[in-house]
C-alpha cells in the first residue's frame, strides 16, 4: 500500500507535469484538457466537503456551479457591452476583472448555499437528495426562461477576463490560475478537516445525537460545511465559464450534479485528493473513449460499477487502503 500523503504529492506533481510537457511540445489542447480537469476537481473538492466530511449527499451542487458561471457571465456581458447592471436598488458596472468576478461568484454561491442549506437541512437522507436536486432544477428552468441573458442559448463572452500581470488567453497561464485555485481549495480543505470544526463535523456525520451531548449543534455544523462547499463549487463555475467563454443553463443541470458525485466516488469519498483523481480520470476517459464513441459514458458506468462493488474507497482506497489506515 502507498502512503496517502506520498500519493497526493505524486499526483499533484504529475498533474502539473502534463500541461508543462504539453507546453514544451506545443500541444495547447492538452493544456485545455488539464485546465478542465483542474476546474472539475475544484468543483468536486467543494462538494467533497459536504459529501465526504459532512455526509450530505447533495444532488444539487450544479446550482452553485451555475451561479458561479452566471456571475461571471453577467458581469462580463455588461462589461463587454458597456451596459450598466441595474439591480433595482443599485446600478453597477460590469467587469472583466477575474479577482472581482471570483469574489462575486464565491459570495453569491455562498449566499445561495446558505439559503438552500438552511431549508434542505431540515430533511435528511433521500429527502435531502431530492430537495437539493429540486433547488438546482429551479435554477435550471429559471436560467432557461431568463431571456435577458440568452435564455436557453446562454451568454457568449468574446474575450477571456483579465487577471493583473497575466495573459489569461495563454492556455498555460490560465491553467496556472485554475491549478492555484485548486491548490488553495485543497489546502483549505485539509486545514478544515483537521480543525476542531472539521473534527466536530466528522463526529456529527457519524453520531449526530451524541455530538449534541457535548454542546455541538450538528445542523449548524453541516450548514457551515454546506456553505463553504457551495462557495468553492461556485468559484469553479466562474472558472469553467471563463474557460469556455460561455455560460448556459446546462451548468445548472442535474447531469452536472451527478457527474460531480461520480468524480468523488471514483477518486474516493472523504479523501483529500479523491476529487482530483476522479476529475483527471473523468476528463481522460472523456477524451480517450470519447474519441472512439459518443457513448463513452457506458464505459464510465461500468468503471463506476466496478469501483462501487470492488473498491469502496475509490482509486485512493484501492491504492492506499481504507480511510485512517493510510
Amino acid at each position: 500500500m502507498i502512503r496517502e500523503r506520498h500519493l497526493n504529492i505524486l499526483l499533484l506533481a504529475g498533474f502539473l507535469a502534463v500541461p508543462l510537457y504539453a507546453l514544451a511540445v506545443d500541444e495547447p489542447f492538452t493544456i485545455t484538457l488539464a485546465t478542465r480537469a483542474a476546474i472539475l476537481a475544484l468543483a468536486a473538492v467543494g462538494l467533497n466537503i459536504a459529501l465526504g466530511w459532512g455526509g450530505l449527499v447533495s444532488f444539487g451542487h450544479a446550482a452553485f456551479f451555475g451561479i458561479g458561471g452566471y456571475s461571471m457571465g453577467i458581469l462580463a456581458f455588461h462589461a463587454q457591452n458597456y451596459m450598466p447592471l441595474d439591480l433595482g436598488f443599485a446600478v453597477l458596472e460590469g467587469t472583466k476583472s477575474m479577482p472581482v468576478i471570483w469574489l462575486v461568484a464565491t459570495l453569491t454561491s455562498a449566499l445561495a448555499a446558505l439559503a438552500i442549506g438552511a431549508l434542505s437541512l431540515r430533511t435528511s437522507g433521500v429527502y435531502f437528495i431530492m430537495i437539493t436536486l429540486a433547488f438546482a432544477q429551479m435554477f435550471y428552468y429559471f436560467a432557461i426562461s431568463w431571456s435577458r441573458y440568452g435564455g436557453e442559448d446562454g451568454i457568449s463572452i468574446y474575450v477571456r477576463n483579465e487577471f493583473p500581470g497575466l495573459n489569461t488567453l495563454a492556455p498555460i497561464q490560465f491553467f496556472g490560475l485554475c491549478f492555484a485555485a485548486l491548490l488553495l481549495a485543497l489546502w483549505l480543505n485539509a486545514r478544515l478537516v483537521a480543525s476542531p470544526f472539521g473534527l466536530a463535523l466528522n463526529a456529527a456525520r457519524q453520531v449526530p445525537v451524541r455530538v449534541q451531548t457535548v454542546g455541538l449543534d450538528p445542523t449548524r455544523l453541516k450548514l457551515v460545511a454546506f456553505v463553504i462547499s457551495g462557495a468553492i463549487t461556485g468559484l469553479a463555475g466562474a472558472l469553467f465559464a471563463d474557460l469556455n467563454r460561455f455560460v448556459s443553463p446546462s451548468m445548472f443541470s442535474w447531469h452536472l450534479s451527478g457527474e460531480l458525485i461520480v468524480l468523488i466516488i471514483l477518486g474516493g469519498v472523504g479523501r483529500l485528493m479523491g476529487p482530483v483523481i476522479g476529475a483527471i480520470l473523468f476528463v481522460a476517459l472523456d477524451h480517450i473513449l470519447g474519441g472512439w464513441t459518443t457513448h463513452w459514458h457506458i464505459a464510465l458506468g461500468a468503471i463506476l460499477l466496478g469501483v462501487v462493488l470492488f473498491a469502496r474507497g475509490g482509486v485512493i482506497g484501492l491504492l492506499c487502503g481504507p480511510k485512517g489506515q493510510a
Binding site: 476542531p196 473534527l199 466536530a200 466528522n202 463526529a203 457519524q206 453520531v207 445525537v209 451524541r210 455530538v211 449534541q212 451531548t213 457535548v214 454542546g215 455541538l216 449543534d217 450538528p218 480511510k323 485512517g324
Partner: protein, 228 residues
Amino acid sequence: MTLLRVENLTASYGASQALFGVDFTLAEGEVLALMGRNGMGKTTTVKAICRMIPSQGGLHFAGQNLHHLPSFRAARFGLGLVPEGRRCFASLTVAENLIAAARPGHWTMARVTELLPRLGERTGQRAASLSGGEQQMLAIGRALMTNPRLLILDEATEGLAPLIRAEIWATIAQLKHDSGMSILVIDKSLRELGQVADSAVILARGKTVWSGAMEDLSADVSEAYIGV
C-alpha cells in the same frame, strides 16, 4: 447552592410512559447516586435532563429552565454526559475526540490526560481500536473537555474488568476531592457508590421512592428497591 432541581419529571417513549414523577435536587459540589433496578427509569431520567427526549415537569439547572432547550444548548449550560455504552466518535483519534468536544475552561487536553494517563499514551490511536475500558475513559475525558458544571456518568463501569472499574472509581473520587466537581452517577455497585456518593435517589417504576444521604441508606431499603 442547588445546581440541579428535578420536580415531578415525567417522560414517555411514544405511547409508553417511562417516568411517572422523578424528584430530587443536587447541590453544587455534591456527588449524587441515582439507583434502581434495571428498567426503572435511571437512563431515561438522564436523557430527559440532557434534553435528549421530551419530558414534562420541573427541570432547573443553574437557575435555568432546561425545558424547550435543544440537547446541545443544555450541554452548553454545563451538562457533561458520559453516556451508557460509551459512544465515542469511532473514526476519530483519542486527541481528536477530545478536541472536537473542547470548550474553554479548567479542563484542557493536558489536564485530562494527566487525570487519565491511559489516554495520554494513546492520543494518536483511533477510538474504535481502544479497549472497552479505554473507550470509557475517553468518554469521561470527552465530557470533561466540555468543562461541565455537572458530570453525569451513566453506567460508566458496566461490563468492564475489575481493574479498570477500580481505575474509573478512583478517577471519580479524584474528581470529587481534587476538583469539587458535581457528579450524578448511575451504577449498580452499591459498595463503590457508598464510597464516593454524598446522597442517593432510588427510582422504582419511574418514580422516586427514596432519597437521602448515602449513609442513611439502610440495608432494608436497598434490599427492597435495588435487590442488594
